[in-house]
C-alpha cells in the first residue's frame, strides 16, 4: 500500500511503487480531470502540482511521491480552490480558451503554478512555462491572453 496526499485528502492505494502517478490518480482514485496524452512527459496533459511545483504525473512514480502534497485540476478549482486556481479558471472562461478541452487541465495547472512564482509574467515567461503543454487545437494565443488576464485578476 502506498499513501498519497491528494487535494488535501490522504489516500491509500494498492499499487506497485513504479506505477505512474497519472494512473493512480485516474484509475485508482477516480479523478479523471488529469489526462493521458503521451505517457512520456512530452505533452503536459497530465500536469499536477507536487508541493506547488508542476510535474508530469505520467513520469512521476507513485513510490516517489512520499509526503508531497499532490493537487489535481479538481483540487485547483474545486471547493478549496487556490486564488491562482480561481483566477485561472475565471480567465479561461472569460476568454473562451477551450476547444476540445482535453489538454486544458494541464494548461491550467501549469498556468497556476507560473502565477504562484511570477505575479506578472511576460509573453516570454508564459511561453517558457507552458511550452511543454501541447494543444492540438492550438488555443495558445488565448491561453497566453488568459494567463495575463488571470494575473490581472490576482492583482485586483
Amino acid at each position: 500500500m502506498i499513501k498519497l496526499k491528494i487535494n488535501g485528502e490522504e489516500r491509500s492505494v494498492d499499487v506497485d511503487a513504479d506505477t505512474p502517478l497519472l494512473w493512480v490518480i485516474r484509475d485508482e482514485i477516480g479523478l479523471t480531470g488529469t489526462k493521458f496524452g503521451c505517457g512520456q512527459a512530452l505533452c503536459g496533459a497530465c500536469t499536477v502540482h507536487m508541493d506547488g511545483q508542476p510535474v508530469r504525473s505520467c513520469q512521476t512514480m507513485a513510490g516517489d511521491v512520499g509526503d508531497a502534497q499532490i493537487v489535481t485540476i479538481e483540487g485547483l478549482v474545486g471547493a478549496n480552490a487556490t486564488p491562482e486556481g480561481k483566477a485561472v479558471q475565471a480567465a479561461w472562461r472569460a476568454l473562451d480558451v477551450v476547444q476540445c478541452g482535453y489538454c486544458q487541465s494541464g494548461q491550467m495547472m501549469s498556468a497556476a503554478a507560473l502565477l504562484t512564482e511570477n505575479k506578472k509574467p511576460s509573453d516570454d515567461d508564459i511561453n517558457a512555462a507552458l511550452n511543454g503543454n501541447v494543444c492540438r487545437c492550438a488555443t495558445y494565443q488565448r491561453i497566453r491572453a488568459a494567463v495575463h488576464d488571470a494575473a490581472r485578476r490576482l492583482e485586483a
Binding site: 489526462k35 512530452l42 474545486g78 486544458q104 488565448r142
Partner: protein
Amino acid sequence: MSIQDRIRGGAPLDLNRRGFLAIAGGAGVGLMVGFRPFPAEAEAAGGLVQFNPFVKVAPDGAITVVVKHLDMGQGPTTGLATLIAEEMDADWSQMRTEFAPADAKLYANLAFKAQGTGGSTAMANSWEQYRTAGAEARAALVKAAADKWQVAQGEIVVDKGVLSHPSGKRGTYGEFAEAAAKQPAPIGAPQETPYKDAAKFKLIGKEGLHRIDNDPKTDGTAIYTQDVKLPGMLVAAVAHPPQFGGKVKSFDDAEAKKVKGVEKIVQIPQGVAVLAKNTWAAFKGRDALKVEWDLSGAESRGSEELLKLAKEAVSKPGGAVATARGDVAGALKGAAKVIEADFTFPYLAHAPMEPLNCVIDLKPDGARLIYGAQFQSIDQPTVAAVTGLKPEQVKIETVWAGGSFGRRAVPTADYVAEAAAIAKAINGSNPVKLVWTREDDTKGGYYRPFYAHKVRAAIGADGMPVAWEHHVAGQSIFAGTALEAMAVKDGVDETSVEGASNLAYAVPNLKVELTTLKVGVPVLWWRSVGHTHTAHVVESVIDELAHAAGKDPVEYRLALLKDKPRHTAALKLAAEKAGWTPGAKPEKGKGRGVAVHESFNTVVAQVVDVTITKNGGVKVDRVVAGVDCGTVINPDVVRAQVEGGVGFGLGAALRDAITLEDGVVQQANFDTYEPLRMSDMPKVEVYTVPSDAKPTGIGEPGVPPLAPALANAIFSATGKRVRDLPLGDQKFTTA
C-alpha cells in the same frame, strides 16, 4: 415541405406528429420508436418534455438541445444551442446540450444523408433544421400559455425564456412544457418560414455568447472516452503488427500473464489484445507480450521510395483527367514565360490530444458503445458485422472527443471495429475500454496521404496566366473503402484534386490530372482534406506567376478573381487589416506573404508575416485572416476555429511528417512528431466579411491558406521558394 419534414430533413419516418410530441415524464417514450434519450440522467430527472428530436424542456425551464454532431472542439454544441435558443427566445443561461444517440433516421447529417460529422458541415446542414425545431417548440409552448391564459397566441411575447402578456400574466417554459406536450396535433400556426428573419436575431451573430462547454472543460468534469468507467470493465491494449498488413503468426503470453492486473489475453484480427483491471497493467502486459508476425503480405516500402513513384508519375502525362478546358499544350508553346514547379507533401498524422479509444459493452442481445463517435452510420453496421448483431442492436452514446481532425471518422471504422473484435473475443464477459497509447496513435496509420505535384504554368505578354497544366499523384482516401463507388468517378478521387481542379483563378487553358497510387498504408481525410496540399501548390504557383509578371501578389490575384466576389472580399479584408501596401518591400530579415483559398464553401485569405532568425530559422510573427463563411453564428467560435486552423496548418508546415523505412513508421511520440508549441504560435487576427448568406464551413477552412502564405512570406524574405513540406531543419538566408 412541412415543418416536421424540415426538422427531419425530409427523411421518411414512420411516426405521426403526435408521436414526436408526446413525451412527457417518460410516459410517452413508447411513442418514440427507436429513440432513446441520452444521457440517462436526463431520463431520471423526470418531467422532461421532448418536443421533437432536438429540443427538451425541463420543469425548471432548462432547455436541452440534442446535438447530432460530435464536438471535438470545433463548437457545434455551442452553435446548435444558439440556433435553438434564438428561435425560442431563450436566455443563454437556460441552455443545456446532450449528444444524440446513433439513429440516422432522426440525426442524419443532411449533407451526407448519413449520421456523421465532417466536411465542416455541422452548422451548414443544421441551419434550417435546428431553427425549425426551435420555432416549433416555441409555438407549442406559446399555444399552451395562450390556452391557459385565454389570450391570443400572437399577443404573447417571449424574452429570455419568459413568456408574458400585456395583461400582466407571466410564465416560464418549464410551467407550460407538460401542457404543451398534451396538445392535440397540429399545434402552432403553420407558416411557410417558421424561423426568424435575420434582422430579429438576438443571439445569432452577436458577440458575448460564451461557449456552452466552458464549465466542464475548465474544472476537470467533462467526460471523454478515456474517462468512461463501467462496472467490471477491463482496459485493453493491443499489440499491432510493426508494418501495415502484417498478421499474427504466433505469440507467447507467459510473461504478460504474470503482470499484476492482467486478466485476459486474446488474439483478434488486428493483433493481440491484453485486457487488465487498469490501464497501466494493460500497457505493461502488452509490452511483455512476445509476438511473431507474418509480414509476408505487409507493405514494406519506405516513404522515399513511395515519394519517388509519385514524382515519376507527375513527370509525364497520362493521369486520369480531373479537369480540362481550352488548349493547354498550345498555350504553353506560345507563352511569353513558362514556370515549372514540383512539390512534395509527406504523410501526416492527426495526433489528437486524446489517443484513440472506445468503450464497448457487448451482450447477447445488443451492444452499448460509448466514445467520441464521429461517423455513426459507418460504425454501427461495422460493429454489427463484427459481433453478429443487427445494426439496430448496436447503441452508440457519444461523449466529448479530445480532438479528432478527421481521425475518429473512418470508412473502415478501424478503432471501433478493433474494440468490437476484443469484446467478441471475450464473449462479452466484461465491458471493454480499448486504449491506444500515443505511440499506437502515431504509428496507427490513416494518415493524410503523401503527394507529389507538378505544375507548368505560363503567362502571356501582359503577365496574366494563359495556361496551367497540373498533375497530382498520391493515394486516394476512398480507394478500397465502402465509399469508393460514391467518391471516385472515372478514376478521379475528387478529394485528391479539390482546390486545384476547381481553380478559382481565371486561367483560360487548364488541365488537372491525377495518378492514384496503390500503397498498403491506410490513409484518411485530415483537417481540410485535399486542400491541405492543393492550396499550397495553387497559391505558391500563382505567387510565382505574379512575381514573374512583376506584379503585386494581392493585386495580381484580385485581377484574376473578378468574377469571384467572395474571394475578392476576403482577400481585400485580410490585406486591408494587415496593412498590405502594394509593391512594398519588407525590411531585411522580414517577409510577408499572402494566400486565399476556398474550401467547404468558405473563403479564407491570410497574410503571414515572418522573421528569418539569426540562425536561419523561420519565426511566424503575425497572421491576419479575412473570412467569408456566410452568416456568422458565433463570432468568437469562428475566430477560434481560424486561429486553431492557423496553428494546425503551421505545425504541419514547419516540421511534421510521418516517414516509413522498410514499411515501418519512424515516428512514435511527440518528440519525433512534434506538434506546434506555444512559442511557435503567432499573433492571429481574424476578420469576417459581413454576409446574410447561409452559413458555410469553419472548422477546416482556416488550414489551407497558411502553408502557402507562409511559403510566400519566406520567398519575400529570402528569394527562396518552399515547394517541399515540411520546412524541417532547412536554413534560410535573407535576400
